[in-house]
Symmetry: C2
Subunit: 284 residues, 2 copies
């Protein structure tokens, strides 16, 4: 019988910013005799966050009860007021904000200072986006896509910044929608290149296989987007966090399987998934 082929996306898993944040966190935990804290999970991968917790990196929801200790600023960054609170409480902090997110925050600051109305293309409730928006003055709006175009006030000078994990198509669509009524449009293409390349590879892969498995946190924006983009091409696209979620029937009769993973998915989870897929393939 013909053997199942497994295609693993080269760009699956950890991006530069996530790798950096994890290494910063483990180092901070090692160097501190007490617990260190992250305001919200360091990255959007529950399995990695659990492992970090074992090493002494504790997730907290807010700074209110924190009187002393070290805070690691997570990969998605924090809001302007959270940063102010950290400083005013004189807490030690280590900044693990992804440098690309940091850059986007600076662009928001700059656009705001120069008087642009700021449009952030992204998910309103995502911590990165909340952080970005907080660096603007009053004139800022987060929109998810063209379906929200009518929420944008008719301003003459509009600055656009994107959540780093957005798709270029969404940024293009919003830009197109704003262009007819804006006199000046200043766009920072803050979409992280790793995200763009990962999306491109995964969607190209989805074209030539029968089943796609995307691995990553259910709370991970970039993983969710990757899933949606692949599913637009291949209906049989599954989103899992860990290998044990794979149902053998997904792969029944399937000759070509593709695997990709979000930016916060660690190598060991991807390896487990590949192993599990191979086992199932061998069993048919």
């Amino acid at each position: 019988m013909e053997k199942m082929e497994i295609f693993i996306a080269k760009t699956a898993g950890f991006c530069f910013g996530v790798k950096r944040a994890i290494s910063i966190a483990y180092n901070a935990a090692r160097e501190s005799s007490e617990s260190v804290y992250t305001l919200g999970p360091l990255i959007h991968n529950p399995q990695v966050v659990k492992d970090l917790e074992k090493s002494g990196v504790v997730v907290i929801d807010c700074l209110e009860d924190m009187k002393e200790g070290s805070v690691i600023i997570r990969s998605h960054g924090v809001t302007f007021s959270e940063m102010e609170e950290i400083k005013s409480k004189r807490l030690d902090f280590v900044d693990a904000t992804c440098p690309f997110v940091k850059k986007a925050q600076n662009h928001v600051k700059e656009l705001s200072r120069e008087g642009y109305f700021i449009l952030i293309v992204g998910e309103k409730d995502h911590p990165e986006v909340k952080g970005l928006a907080s660096y603007a003055g009053r004139d800022v709006l987060v929109i998810n896509g063209v379906e929200e175009l009518d929420m944008i006030p008719k301003k003459k000078r509009i600055g656009i910044v994107a959540q780093t994990t957005q798709s270029i198509e969404n940024l293009q669509a919003v830009t197109n929608g704003v262009l007819p009524f804006a006199l000046e449009l200043r766009i920072y293409n803050t979409i992280c290149n790793a995200t763009a390349v990962r999306q491109k590879e995964a969607t190209e892969l989805a074209e030539k296989i029968e089943c796609m498995i995307v691995v990553g946190g259910y709370n991970s924006a970039n993983t969710n987007r990757l899933v949606r983009m692949c599913r637009d091409i291949l209906e049989k696209t599954y989103h899992i966090e860990v290998a044990s979620e794979i149902k053998p029937e997904w792969l029944e009769g399937v000759k070509r399987v593709g695997i990709s993973a979000g930016a916060s998915t660690p190598p060991w989870i991807i390896e487990d998934v590949v192993k599990r897929v191979r086992e199932i393939g061998d069993s048919y």
Copy 2:
């Protein structure tokens, strides 16, 4: 027999900048005892230019032989070096540059000063575009549309300015093409509103008629674009300069005719066209 219906676009003909330029030119001719000159035709309408000539407004091709007298700077503006030449020769000049073109020139200057690579979306050989490009330093490229995208060097900071008579769709398409590789994109939507509204009205009109007549200079960029846009919708679209060009057979059996005209087409030419169409309609 059913009478032919004639729909005349409300936005047909003279725009603000053209009206202003013509009034400036007639005034200058009236106030001067000698001839006044325009470097190239004042506007892109041969019939109006001819009438101006009778009033003493003479078209010249270059400033070389001009030692004295008054120059009217035409609606499309002049290049930076032509302006320098006018000043260095201490010629009198009256500036009839369309204020919207002037604004676009200033945006090019500003973008250039701030170090952007400048992209002008427009027709390379059009005097307005030549003028715009001349206000940039070295880093400037004129592109006509997306088919020329691969000519654009991969610069990080790109500024975009449009010829005032471009269609918003073309500006959007070019913006879309540049966005994936630019880190910062600063777009001035310099498309003149009158042009956009005229295009919208004409194309909407073309949807509900059987024959479209667009009146305007064959050298007029905005008229040519209007013709192309209408023809994309309605094959039976004719471009004429004057009423006598209308062929009765165009209107044979036609029940609904639309008429629009470019920004430099004077009211009297449009009236002649309407009269001629009515005559032909009555004759069937």
